[in-house]
């Protein structure tokens, strides 16, 4: 029989008869000692029996310890661990208050960190669901106004043909389509792409086929791919849909494939359908009409700089070849990953940092709790040591207890984190969430679990080492003496104080960050939008091009809608625009100022087509000149209203109303500036105001426009009536995105990001405040309990209550001031690093810092007042007799 097997079988035999083994060993040793004593007595007849026994015992040593050593030899490693574990459970149960607090704090800190990390992981760490995503780049034209602006189809075709740096270059755009269903028409989001789009990403449909080369030409039959979710939602996941026909924008399309479940492409999301290009119509064929973004895969060995240089040189060639359309059209290449998630990074890091700080506070708090516990267990430890427990065995006990707390805390923490992830996902507005496809179906990825494991591991180390440090070299004699007051208590108080200062400082940092974010949000929501957003309802309208083919029909429809909507009770003003405020600065046009030298350069400006009553609906302020008139259509002279930024940028020191603008045609078409309106926030709330040019809808009509209605009644109640009115006119018209202006503002990207971060970090900060104040309370209360006798003596010698208060409060005050000062210094540094996510607030905002200092001081005073009161009301007689 091989040695190892024999060992195992012998061990098992012992294991089965453990009690007999223990008894045998004890009897054997007792006999040994007996013989030893007998021999000693025979060798030294002068010795009394008592002395001989003492001498034997001294020489023999601690037989409990010897037996333990022997047991270790024959036992399995897990037996002692199990023993430690059972003992830990008993200890933890005995001290339920401590256990529950520690587990709860760990679970809380962990839940916050893990939940936030899961968002960070899904957005920043998880690779994009494409083949070799690091070689993919976003390809853009570049203009002064927007660094990443869109490509026109003719430019794209030239870039594709002439570049030497991409294995392939494809384009995509987000588009809304009208889907014909059994229940009428419906607006669906979709992507419109060149035929190689999915191939460049390396994505293969799970059902059917990809677009084949040539599928995006006008000559090819119209085909469409389905997203996985649309396949489930609209077709119940049926495999029979391949080859079926679906009517999009009035044209039949054949369904050729279904995309994988984990596929998403954020810049075009939410897309239910994906259609191939089929360039037609004036814009698609015009080199000057930009509405696509590019995505390309870099050839092996080509760097970002090389690709940019190559594409820039192509853009320069095109500038020379087509100066009318391509003047000042540069190029931009951005890694696809950067383009998709780059904007989210600062805010996610701030949130993760906030959660980490909370976790630190929770950890420190538990560590100080453990210290207090180790302190109160001094006697227990000393007794166990005296009875023969080795230091290693004692430390193992602490480690086991720490591990039990951490494991339980981790289980609860993960449960809470899961709830937190669900809650946070539910709080994200649906429209925003639909675009942030990587956050849908958030779950515990292996990385998230590893992150949780790392936290648990660090926590386990912290929690087992903290009490071990205290007990590693116990002064057994002193600890055994009941109620001894040695240097150990003071040492603990010093360490505990340091921990509390750390906690308070961390809480200050969190509170300051929360304060700054809150103030940013407040500033953002109170930013001057140039309008009065109350009582405005909005709706987007899209008329089918087949029924409404010509411009006069568009104008008539727009007018009819406004008339009918005006008749709704409570409606005071009605207007339409090509794009509602607080969305984006996009939709631009080129212009030049007549009478000024012009050499073909492209002045680009944001542009909106509005009806005469639009400014009245918004409550925008006309600074000079007049509004458009309903009668101003193409038969009348072309007119425009500019905003004050336009006047400031393009007519400094001049009277804009004396000027005419023109588009960039060969022959000028004069547009008279007839008014100046105060800046309306057309872009995101946190953006700088840009020049905006407003033209009358009747001179530049479209089948798509956005309705804005001011009502004297509840604007929410009017939304369904608006849709009903439109469908009364023509059920084929799609009316969607109905929302009040305040909702649009509150749910706008910038407001949402600022609000969610302010609330989240605010929540973290509130928890941090509670935890750190509890920590301070613990230290002060412990200090009072340690000094009860001292306080009793002082009072017996005539100290007043007030001086006792002073004694305790001054200690708390000292800790608090150090903590606050340290925290404020760190907070200023931290805030400077997060300037990117602040709006209208400097990182060293004095009122915020001041308010945080006051809040924390007040909370700290309250926390130390309770123990101070206990100290001051101590009965000297009781105190002197205590212990």
């Amino acid at each position: 029989m091989p040695n190892s097997l024999r060992r195992l079988s012998n061990k098992l035999r012992f294991f089965a008869r453990r009690e007999k083994f223990d008894n045998d060993l004890a009897e054997e040793m007792a006999y040994h000692r007996e013989l030893k004593q007998r021999d000693l007595e025979q060798a030294n007849p002068a010795l009394t029996a008592r002395d001989a026994r003492h001498a034997t015992n001294r020489e023999f040593g601690n037989d409990l310890y010897h037996r333990d050593q022997s047991r270790d030899v024959i036992g399995f490693w897990f037996e002692t661990t199990l023993q430690d574990f059972r003992f830990s459970l008993r200890q933890l149960r005995k001290n339920l208050g401590f256990t529950v607090t520690a587990i709860l704090m760990l679970a809380l800190g962990m839940a916050a960190s893990v939940a936030i990390f899961s968002f960070v992981d899904a957005a920043l760490l998880k690779p994009l669901p494409y083949r070799d995503p690091s070689r993919l780049v976003g390809v853009f034209e570049s203009i002064t106004l927007f660094k990443q602006s869109d490509l026109s189809i003719p430019d794209y075709l030239d870039w594709k043909k002439r570049n030497e740096v991409f294995t392939s270059l494809e384009i995509y755009t987000r588009q809304g389509l009208t889907l014909l269903t059994k229940n009428g028409v419906e607006r669906v989001s979709s992507g419109r792409v060149s035929d190689g789009f999915f191939r460049v990403l390396g994505v293969t449909p799970i059902l059917g086929r990809d677009f084949a080369p040539g599928d995006d030409l006008v000559s090819a039959p119209r085909t469409t791919l389905l997203s996985y979710s649309a396949w489930l939602k609209r077709y119940g996941g049926s495999p029979d849909i391949l080859g079926q026909s679906v009517t999009l924008d009035g044209k039949p399309h054949t369904i050729v494939g279904v995309l994988p479940r984990d596929f998403h492409f954020v810049p075009a999301e939410p897309a239910e359908f994906w259609t191939a290009l089929h360039p037609e119509g004036q814009c698609d064929l015009s080199r000057g009409c930009h509405s696509f973004y590019g995505v390309a895969r870099l050839k092996d060995g080509v760097t970002l700089q090389q690709s940019l240089a190559n594409v820039t040189s192509i853009a320069q060639q095109l500038e020379r070849e087509y100066p009318d359309t391509n003047r000042d059209q540069g190029a931009n290449i951005t890694p696809l990953y950067e383009y998709i998630v780059g904007d989210l990074r600062p805010i996610l890091f701030v949130l993760l940092g906030g959660a980490a700080l909370l976790l630190i506070i929770a950890g420190v708090n538990i560590a100080s709790l453990l210290l207090v516990r180790a302190e109160s267990r001094r006697r227990e430890i000393a007794v166990r040591g005296a009875l023969g427990a080795s230091p290693v065995r004692l430390i193992r006990q602490f480690v086991t207890e720490g591990v039990v707390v951490v494991l339980t805390g981790t289980v609860f923490g993960l449960g809470l984190a899961y709830g937190g992830m669900r809650l946070l996902s539910a709080l994200i507005p649906a429209e925003f969430m639909a675009r942030m496809a990587f956050w849908q179906n958030l779950s515990f990825s292996p990385r998230v679990l590893m992150f949780a494991g790392l936290i648990a591991f660090l926590a386990a180390i912290l929690f087992s080492l903290t009490p071990s440090v205290r007990s590693a070299a116990p002064d057994m004699h002193e600890d055994l003496a009941e109620g001894s007051r040695g240097s150990a208590g003071n040492a603990w108080r010093r360490l505990g104080s340091k921990l509390v200062v750390l906690e308070l400082a961390t809480a200050v940092v969190l509170l300051v960050i929360a304060g700054l974010l809150g103030k940013s949000l407040f500033r953002l929501l109170n930013v001057d939008t140039g309008m009065n957003p109350e009582h405005i309802a909005t709706l987007t309208i899209s008329a089918p091009g087949a029924t409404y083919a010509k411009e006069p029909q568009w104008i008539a429809l727009n007018r009819l809608i406004r008339e009918k909507v005006s008749a709704i009770p409570g409606v005071t003003n009605v207007g339409t625009t090509s794009l509602l405020p607080v969305d984006g600065w996009g939709n631009t046009t080129w212009f030049r100022v007549l009478g000024r030298p012009w050499h073909g350069e492209h002045n680009e400006t944001t542009q909106r087509d509005i009806t005469a009553g639009y400014f009245n609906v918004l409550g925008a302020k006309l600074l000079r000149g007049r509004n458009f008139d309903e009668s101003e259509d193409k038969t009348k002279p072309a007119v425009a209203i500019i905003n004050s930024s336009f006047a400031r940028v393009h007519f400094p020191g001049e009277d804009p109303l004396a000027h005419q603008l023109s588009h960039l045609g060969k022959t000028p078409d004069p547009i008279q500036i007839i008014g100046i309106v105060e800046d309306i926030k057309e872009g995101q709330l946190d953006s700088q105001n840009l020049p905006v040019l407003y033209n009358p809808f009747n001179q530049n009509a479209d089948t798509e426009f956005m309705l804005a209605v001011r009502t004297s009644q509840d604007e929410n109640a009017i939304l369904p009536m608006l849709t009903a009115t439109i469908h009364d006119i023509d059920p084929q018209i799609v009316a969607y995105r109905g929302a009040t202006m305040t909702t649009l503002i509150n749910n706008s990207m910038s407001a949402y990001i600022h609000r969610s971060s302010a609330w989240l970090v605010g929540g973290f900060a509130a928890l941090a405040l509670i935890l750190s104040v509890v920590g301070l309370y613990g230290v002060v209360a412990y200090s009072v309990s340690q000094r009860t006798r001292e306080i009793g003596v002082r009072m017996a010698l005539g100290a007043q209550q007030s001086s006792v208060y002073r004694l305790i409060l001054s200690e708390a005050g000292r800790l608090t001031s150090i903590g606050i000062l340290l925290g404020i210094a760190c907070a200023i540094g931290a805030a400077a690093a997060m300037q990117a996510v602040l709006f209208g607030v400097r990182s060293w905002d004095i009122p915020t810092l001041f308010a945080v200092a006051i809040i924390l001081t007040a909370a700290a005073l309250l926390a130390s007042f309770v123990p101070a009161r206990r100290a001051a009301t101590v009965d000297p007689v009781v105190a002197l007799r205590s212990e």
């Binding site: 012998n10 045998d24 040593g61 010897h66 050593q69």
Partner: protein, 110 residues
Amino acid sequence: MTKPDLLPGTLDMLILKTLTRAPLHGYGIALSIKRISQDVLTVEEGSLYPALQRLLIQGWVKAEWKMTETNRRARFYTLTAAGRKQLGAELSQFHQLIAAITRVLQDQDA
């Protein structure tokens, strides 16, 4: 006088060797080693009993309760066949080691 420590790993060998002559109980083993080494080697109880368990687990000795000449119950350890083989192996290894050390120490040229 301080007593020299046992070389690490030699205690097991000494116990096995002691048991070649006759089965002994724990105290007997300790006494025998002390006597034969002329009081140079003292086996501490703290090392003896863990070592005995180690040998038991390995199957090199076995333990039985027997009556002593004074009619007391004592636990006697007996060398097993495997134990005898192990002792042989350890002894030859040990002798090689001692011979090597001796050669180094007696080197005249050093």
